[in-house]
């Protein structure tokens, strides 16, 4: 129980260059890296990519081991993906390693399985590099600014950003509350880890109902408080921290460009 094991999505405050980059740079950068990741054709390419990611972690002064901890909850998924690819990769004539009933594992399949798994791990690690170095608030601001040109096309950038801001503000509160309600019901003899799926699902009703009631009450209170503070939507609103491009952002884009060029060159 508890949510303390999760490292995905966590922000680790710090003062590195990566921490100080404009959030828009980091959003575009990570998106770019993820796209590149899917174009990297070989293990050697993945190695190069991993080296780049490791370098970025060094720049951010965060231990890559900490990012790997974020993978732990995904191990089942990783193993499953690797096995699926090992057995079902469309291979014309691979060297058969072993058979398992009707299933057949080929050398080619195993390679594909490991490749896909490695790619997934890098995907998680590269994304967590962004969340580790960017506070949720900056992330939201960055998204809002990136979406601003699309506001005219009906993309509700401000509303999305405001929703995200509020969600980020209340997620810790609601997690704490969930923990507290679970414990309160356990003090009344509840058990959340016994019985079949149905019994477990039913055991959560005494947690979910109070949580919903509380969430509704909180949202009503918050709406009232926002109204009392003259909130009336995005129109006419200004921001205390306007985002501004810095020299470091230009450097970051140059690094990205170099990496993209490398990928193109490898695939040539």
């Amino acid at each position: 129980m508890g949510f303390s094991g999760l490292t995905i999505g966590q922000y680790l405050p710090g003062g590195s260059i990566l921490h100080r980059l404009d959030p828009r740079t980091k959003i575009i950068g990570v998106t770019g890296l993820v796209v590149m990741l899917f174009f990297v054709p070989s293990f050697a390419g993945l190695g190069g990519f991993a080296a780049l990611v490791l370098a970025l972690f060094a720049v951010a002064r965060i231990s890559p081991a900490y990012a790997l901890r974020g993978i732990r909850p995904l191990i089942v998924l990783l193993v499953f993906t690797a096995l699926l690819n090992t057995f079902f990769a469309p291979v014309a004539d691979g060297h058969v390693l072993f058979r398992f009933g009707p299933l057949m594992a080929t050398m080619e399949g195993l390679r594909t399985g490991l490749f896909v798994a490695a790619r997934l791990i890098l995907l998680v690690v590269v994304t967590s590099l962004m969340t580790f170095t960017t506070s949720p608030v900056e992330l939201t601001d960055g998204l809002e600014r990136l979406l601003r040109p699309f506001q005219r096309l009906g993309v509700p950038g401000h509303e999305l950003a405001m929703m995200t801001t509020i969600a980020l503000r209340f997620i810790p509160t609601l997690l704490e509350e969930t923990d507290k309600i679970m414990k309160a019901q356990m003090a009344r003899g509840a058990e959340f880890d016994r019985g079949g799926v149905l019994a477990r699902a039913r055991a959560f009703v005494p947690v979910l109902v109070p949580l919903m009631v509380s969430a509704f009450r909180r949202s009503e209170d918050l709406a009232l408080a926002m109204e009392a503070r003259c909130y009336r939507g995005g129109a006419g609103r200004t921001r205390m921290n306007e985002l501004r491009w810095q020299a470091a952002d230009v450097v970051a884009f140059l690094v990205m460009g170099a990496a993209a060029a490398a990928v193109v060159w490898v695939r040539r």
Partner: protein, 299 residues
């Protein structure tokens, strides 16, 4: 539970004991935080114990060890002699014996009717419907709610004070030996606060051991026979109220104040009026009258 053991050690064996209990949250992450450090407390059956301390001193973390909701990072917790974290320990039984009521417990109500909500605990104990119904009625009466008037109502239509009492009934219906209450009067208006304190005293007279976590020194002084003071995850002071509240400088150093009556006595002494000790307003009244009259006749 064997009778020879009971007979021989009934006085010595506390209902609940924590020995050198430490607790660290989020161990091994950059957010690691030590909440308790080597805490040893014993709660003897029949006591009213107050746990006081500033916010963040570890009070809430400590009481969650009392019924095995939290596992100590090190140290031992025993309820009626049973080590809660020994292999095969029956923690559900400990949770029945030590009834824990969180702060603002009305936020944990979930059923459609008051009766069904209060029945949740006894049902989890596996009792039959007759026994459950009997306990629900009894618990509702213990909190001063008429089962016939309130039983079929939705808890969400009640006033805040009534909801709090329903939540308390939900724990009383487990028939615990001890009731651990985290800030039970928080947010109540003065009258509801006084009524609840009277009820807590009544439960104590019925034989329930009471552990009261409170910020309110007046409540601690009025109810408790034993006061435990916590600061930064440690027990820094414990003893009878007169003893603990006699250490004004120590309490001030950790941001705690004296009960109102003791503050009045202090002010009077500062002004040269020799009054006796007082922890409650009733005691203060008596001490002041004695001081004033004593002077009249004595000089």
């Amino acid at each position: 539970m064997r009778s020879w053991r009971r007979g021989a050690r009934a006085v010595a064996e506390p209902l609940l004991e924590c020995l050198e209990v430490s607790h660290t949250y989020r161990r091994g992450t950059p957010f690691e935080a030590t909440a308790l450090q080597g805490v040893t407390v014993r709660i003897v059956a029949g006591q009213i114990v107050a746990i006081i301390g500033p916010t963040g001193s570890g009070k809430s973390t400590l009481i969650q060890h009392f019924n095995g909701l939290l596992r100590p990072s090190s140290g031992v917790v025993r309820v009626n002699g049973m080590d809660l974290w020994a292999a095969g320990a029956d923690r559900r039984r400990a949770r029945q014996q030590i009834g824990l009521v969180f702060q603002f417990p009305e936020y944990q109500l979930f059923e459609e009717t008051v009766r069904r909500d209060v029945a949740y605990g006894p049902r989890n104990l596996g009792l039959d419907e007759v026994a459950v119904a009997e306990r629900v009625d009894e618990a509702l009466r213990q909190v001063g709610l008429d089962p016939h008037r309130f039983g079929e109502r939705s808890p969400f239509t009640l006033s805040g004070g009534e909801m709090r009492r329903v939540a308390l009934a939900g724990v009383l219906a487990m028939r615990p030996q001890a009731l651990v209450l985290d800030e039970p009067t928080a947010g109540l208006d003065p009258r509801a606060r006084r009524e609840l304190l009277d009820r807590i005293e009544a439960w104590h007279r019925q034989g329930i051991t009471i552990v009261l976590v409170t910020h309110n020194m007046d409540e601690a002084a009025r109810l408790a026979g034993h006061v435990i003071v916590m600061h930064e995850g440690r027990v820094v002071l414990q003893g009878a109220p007169a003893e603990v509240f006699g250490r004004e400088a120590d309490l001030r150093a950790i941001g705690l104040d004296l009960p109102l009556a003791a503050r009045l006595v202090r002010e009077l002494r500062r002004r040269g009026l020799a009054v006796g000790d007082a922890l409650t307003m009733t005691q203060a009244r008596r001490a002041i009258l004695t001081a004033l009259r004593g002077r009249d006749h004595g000089v």
